[in-house]
Amino acid sequence: MSERIVIDPVTRIEGHAKISIFMDDAGNVSDAIFHVVEFRGFEKFCEGRPYGEMTGITPRICGICPVSHLLASAKAGDAIMAVSIPPAADKLRRLMNLGQIVQSHALSFFHLSAPDFLLGWDTPPPQRNVFGLIAANADLARAGIRLRQFGQEIIEILGGKKIHPAWAVPGGVRSPLTEEGRAKIRAWLPEAFATTKVAFDLFKKTLATHEKEVQVFGNFPSLFMGLVAPDGTWEHHGGKLRFSDSSGSIIADQLDPQKYFDYIGESVQNASYLKSPYYKPLGFPEGMYRVGPLARLNICEQMGVPKADAELKKFKKMGHGAVTSSFLYHYARLIEILASLEYIERYLDDADLLSDELRADAGINSLRGVGASEAPRGTLFHDYTVDRDGLLKKVNLIVATGQNNLAMNQTVAQIAKHYVHDNDIPEPMLNRIEHGIRCYDPCLSCSTHAVGQMPLRVQLIAPDGAVLNEVARG
């Protein structure tokens, strides 16, 4: 007699995303909520620990964007010490963040989104994945993996390992770039540029046949937020915060990230463990804003490097004021990969990166410190309050996926309104909702500080709360 043994590996079962689509009395979609039903608790777990440990602890929130947490945590530590870090350390941190942007965007574009573009929305999910992509274009799939490896390699060269490198520390970094590491990065760059060009070509072909998706995949007015340099150039690990609106007008500029709580509020909703941040002067939910590649490109005036600047001009022509379609997050991601490669190339000729002047030292000079850095998915805040001994009394982490929470809800509602009729959940809608959320590349490990993937469950809910229909996938 055979016995069936079922084993669920831990790291793949904790995350569950549920989408509730609310119907009105006339049977039309009135609203939608993207629930995240994982438990968050990382902030409590860290209380009582020395703030200097946070660069070792917080990268473990996430296996995909540990570097983002590392760098934001190091910046928060800089603020507690009230130091300016050495220029070489700042450049090295930036180089690592650029590697992080490349690897994360490559995963999002090539492995999670490209199968939809290449294989079509109505291809069944078992085929609409990276294996379908391999079957359709093996070279593209391989190039995508190699581009992600390139970003990971930069992280490993600097930090000694690809994930959880406790390399950045309050006050600076532990080690410089080596000559050997620099040569390795330089040798790989041409391939990375070539792959990026292939991705641009693919996406531009996609745009020609996806006008409807551009129109209905999260195409609505909102605010956009991110870091910019003093002259409005694209930033990713420095600068100040800027908010702009959907007309493209700047509504607040050069805001000090240390004071984020003066202009960002956090709403907690019963339906989700995700907090929903909003721009305080406009209140909740009118203060909804988006972060991440689309927002960063909307708020900046130039990328600061020539090839990406040429693409930015084309990108900006796609909007009337700001570019408001979340489908164009993909395009923005590619422009950010290109800009990152150009900046990496520029850094390779900078002698500072081999310097050993890497760390400022100081005691506790401020009882509160905020670190803000641009993670691939958007602005990441680490806010630490410490006592005189540097032990953490309070920790607040505001992550990109949370800041996009309201926009993801609105994206799901917009897609559902186009496809849901008569209490039916058609397969094409499910595929498109899946992609609508994927535009934001949400990271639930970060946003709920747990681990997991995202099985999808969609419910249609009547005005009286009754579940009219339900489908699950994953």
């Binding site: 590996p9 790291t11 904790e14 540990p66 994945n129």
Partner: protein, 153 residues
């Protein structure tokens, strides 16, 4: 991700320990891989990561045998060692892949799928913390023994 090779070793066996080391027993996979690394077994490489992702397919494709080590819930209370075959899981919005997917990627993208085993260790607690439960600790010790046996076979 951490990689280390025994200096005198070939590239025969790859032990991949994955999981979150700050979620108690979920970190047992990485702990097992660290212990194997410390044994300096000839021809054995280790790879430690929080979750599996596509670029891991490349080192997997270069191995003769790969052993994935993970924590497991709702499972029998003993360590399970099972042969793995490549499988094409559909990816929704996930950033992480499972071992069968990694094997299929190694085969389809890099041209070689090694013999593969999945070693799962029962997990009893998954809250925040770095310590293992007594159950996972027992599993940890057995897992290291199993890997030594596999690598000697």
């Amino acid at each position: 991700m951490r990689k280390k090779s025994h200096p005198a070793a070939g590239r025969d066996f790859l032990v991949i320990g994955y999981g979150n080391e700050l979620r108690s027993d979920d970190g047992v996979g990485p702990k097992v891989a660290e212990a194997v690394e410390a044994l300096q077994l000839p021809g054995v490489r280790t790879l430690i990561c929080q979750q599996l992702s596509p670029e891991h397919a490349e080192p997997i494709s270069r191995a003769r045998m790969v052993i994935f080590v993970d924590a497991a819930v709702d499972a029998p209370k003993e360590v399970q060692l099972r042969k793995l075959e490549p499988g094409e899981a559909s990816q929704l919005m996930a950033h992480a892949a499972d071992p069968r997917t990694m094997l299929a990627l190694a085969r389809d993208v890099f041209g070689h799928c090694p013999e593969a085993w999945w070693l799962t260790i029962p997990a009893a607690k998954l809250g925040f913390g770095e310590d293992l439960s007594p159950e996972a600790q027992r599993g940890f010790e057995q897992a290291v023994r199993e890997i030594k046996n596999l690598c000697r076979s």
